[in-house]
């Protein structure tokens, strides 16, 4: 057990920090500190390409595909320095962290050549089409249909909560390819180009006034026959594999974003005197401890030899961060006081902390609600009996 970084790692940290700070002070200074995922989309696509041009776009990938085969420690360091430098989140997060690894693990050689260079280069932005209006937490009840017609899959149905679909190039979708099949059987994992007449995207305005999420409608939408990952009917397995990547190193980058939020709260508390309130102090300490424990929890997960293994502890991560962040939003508002309920913007737009308060209400819902997480933990982590499905 060893937490410290080696001298080489610290050199690498310096290299990351220098480059990132240079970018944020230079060509990309206009996007420094942007926290909303929907802010400045065009510039952020350019930023994806800038990362790629300097081989920082997917450092954990094999070098063959544009990565650096970075060690775990290096990936941790890059994620930390990325956020510390105030660089905005990756608009191609889904491509780099989910689609790419899925193709690397389950895709054919031809598919790797077709997709990975574009993702690595920051030119192919991916989004995710899993949820459906009547299957929010219930992936197995997907109804979107796909049928092979000649050399094309033809897709009909609707996905929802497709984050950033409106700026994406490709979408991966779970479809039902076996007529009459139920549950996890008969599903197929397809990759589809978004810019086509059969796909329509409508933004969903959220509680914070912003629209990061979308509804995506498929009406005879098409992709080539070889756009499926794995085999026909393999969709459930691929989707589960993909979801496991969500618990990867990117969690550490996410945590650095949380770090920035908590630091802003601490600064606000010092500035307005809330830091003198013993009740606020307790909550600040709890938030700090929670964040540290997320970091060390993630390092424990990542330090397992077999990274793909979903062990019990890893199952607890989603509910942990989501609940932590929801509480952080409440703490932020209690520190700000009534002034937090006033925006300086003319439109219904919110600065970091009030926006955190509002947006974090979705953290405990998307990507599996806290209720679903508790089911998973109890059933997979503790071996308790499964919830029965109904027949309604």
């Amino acid at each position: 057990m060893k937490l410290g970084f080696s001298p080489q790692d610290e050199l690498f940290r310096q290299e990351c920090a220098d480059w990132l700070n240079g970018q944020m002070a230079g060509e990309f200074r206009d996007i420094k500190g942007v926290t909303k995922l929907t802010g400045s989309p065009e510039r952020r696509k350019e930023w994806e390409q800038q990362l790629a041009a300097h081989r920082w776009s997917c450092i954990g990938w094999p070098s063959q595909w544009g990565g650096r085969e970075a060690t775990l420690a290096q990936q941790v360091i890059f994620a930390e320095e990325y956020a510390r430098a105030g660089v905005p989140g990756r608009v191609n997060h889904i491509g780099v962290e989910l689609a790419g690894p899925t193709i690397l693990t389950f895709g054919t050689e031809e598919q790797k050549q077709r997709f990975l260079p574009g993702i690595a280069a920051g030119k192919t932005i991916f989004c995710q089409g899993f949820s459906e209006p009547n299957a929010g937490s219930d992936l197995a009840s997907v109804r979107t249909k796909a049928k092979l017609e000649g050399d094309e899959w033809v897709v009909n149905g609707q996905k929802i909560w497709t984050s950033l679909a409106h700026i994406s190039d490709w979408i991966f979708v779970i479809t039902r390819t076996e007529e009459g099949s139920k549950g996890p059987k008969g599903l197929t994992f397809l990759m589809m180009p978004i810019d086509q007449p059969g796909i329509e995207i409508r933004g969903i305005r959220q509680i914070n006034g912003d629209a990061e999420f979308n509804e995506t409608f498929f009406t005879d939408a098409r992709c080539s026959a070889d756009s499926l990952i794995g085999a026909v009917g393999d969709g459930w397995r691929i989707a589960m594999g993909l979801l496991a990547f969500e618990r990867g190193v990117s969690t550490l980058g996410q945590q650095m974003g949380f770090r920035n939020e908590l630091d802003e709260i601490i600064a606000a508390a010092k500035a307005n005197g809330a830091a003198n309130d013993p009740l606020i102090r307790q909550r600040l300490a709890k938030a700090e401890v929670g964040l540290r424990l997320m970091r060390y929890g993630a390092l424990r997960m990542l330090s397992q030899t077999d990274h793909s293994r979903i062990d019990g502890a890893a199952l607890t991560y989603k509910i942990q961060w989501a609940s932590w962040r929801r509480n952080l939003g409440e703490l932020a508002m209690d520190v700000l006081g009534q002034g937090g309920e006033i925006s300086d913007h003319a439109e219904y737009e919110w600065d970091t902390l009030p926006n955190l308060f509002l947006f974090s209400r979705s953290d405990t819902i998307y990507g599996g609600t806290n209720q679903i997480q508790r089911n998973l933990i109890a059933e997979r982590g503790l071996g308790l009996p499964r919830e029965p499905r109904g027949t309604a």
Binding site: S131, A135, S141, I207, G337, E341, S343, R361
Partner: protein
């Protein structure tokens, strides 16, 4: 001793409930949110057609008499629909202050117009308010429905003044507010003439207690609506082949909401009743009601979002209206911690 509604109270509850359910629709509230946060037709109906605006205000000033219990009944019904009305600032705070601490002339001048809805008042305190005689300099960023106000009741917590919104030196800036159903305005006074109320202590006491009761009762109504709507949704929404309301964890969360709400109900009516009966414990009860009921509302509104899943955090769904109203009610008129600290001082026998 009978801790249940009288027939008259039941009738008021039914009338107000039906009125708001029919008129304070989501569509109308959203229209008001896009403007100054007041549904004018609703306000007109409330004040003039139903005449509910006079409840809790003296008959001598054109009010309907009755007391805090009846005021709570109405605020509860309005809160259940997140109605976009200036009831809190104009009636529960400003009109109560004038009725309790104003001269006969002031009462005669303002109360009928406030009760009829013809005039709207804002209410604010500014502990640092400078008073040069009765010329006032100061302001507040947190004046509910301030952009719509014809007059302001202003206090430095020692004296209370009426200030006309059109007086020279008054400036009112609308602000983008989290709860758009009760937007906050920044009101600045620069050497503005105020008209002093002769009994400021009575005015402040009345504005505080009616403000706390109204906020608490609104919160109670809102919390109950969150529960009711979520229960209804849970019976319809199918996931994993079952109505989600059949999942035990979901059921238990709804049960917990109900446990809190029933306590909030006791708190609101205990406080209202204690004020009306001038009981000693009224002093504690108003703090208990404000803090407990608004905390309950916030929790229930948060649960409403969570238990609706994805649709719960969309703009289109009403859950965020409840959630934001709940948050604003928690913060305004003193945080929960502040109210509980008052209660602690009381039970520990410390001087107030």
């Amino acid at each position: 001793m009978e801790f249940a509604f009288s027939d008259e109270q039941t009738m008021i509850a039914e009338t107000a409930g039906a009125f708001f359910a029919e008129n304070a629709t989501s569509e109308r509230t959203r229209k008001a949110m896009a403007n100054d946060g007041i549904d004018r037709a609703l306000w007109h109906g409330f004040c003039q057609e139903l005449g509910l605006s006079g409840i809790g205000l003296p008959e001598s000033g054109g009010g309907a008499g009755l007391g805090m219990v009846e005021l709570a009944v109405i605020a509860e019904a309005a809160g259940a629909q997140v109605a976009a009305l200036p009831m809190l600032g104009s009636l529960a705070q400003a009109a109560q202050a004038i009725a309790a601490g104003g001269s006969e002339g002031q009462q005669a001048e303002w109360l009928p117009r406030l009760i009829s809805g013809e005039a709207i008042a804002g209410y604010f305190h500014d502990a640092a308010l400078q008073a040069d005689g009765d010329r006032l300099t100061g302001g507040s960023r947190f004046v509910t429905h301030g952009t719509s106000a014809d007059l302001f009741v202003v206090t430095n917590m020692r004296q209370v003044w009426v200030v006309r919104a059109d007086a020279p030196g008054v400036s009112v800036t609308p602000q983008t507010s989290m709860d758009q159903t009760r937007p906050l305005a920044h009101v600045r006074l620069d050497n503005v003439p105020g008209e002093r109320l002769p009994d400021p202590a009575a005015a402040l006491a009345a504005a505080h207690r009616a403000g706390f009761i109204t906020a608490a009762a609104e919160a109670l109504g809102g919390a109950q609506a969150c529960l009711d709507r979520t229960v209804a949704y849970s019976k319809e929404r199918i996931q994993f082949g079952r109505p989600i309301g059949s999942f035990q964890a979901y059921k238990h969360r709804l049960a917990d909401m109900m446990v809190e709400i029933e306590q909030a109900r006791s708190a609101v009516y205990w406080a209202a009743c204690a004020i009306d009966e001038e009981a000693d414990e009224a002093a504690m009860a108003v703090h208990a009601a404000k803090s407990f009921a608004t905390d309950t509302y916030f929790r229930c509104a948060g649960d409403m979002i969570q238990l609706h899943g994805g649709i719960g955090f969309t703009w289109e769904h009403d859950a965020h209206l409840f959630f934001k109203r709940a948050r604003s009610l928690q913060t305004m008129l003193g945080s929960g911690d502040w109210h509980r600290e008052r209660i602690a001082a009381m039970i520990l026998g410390e001087a107030a």
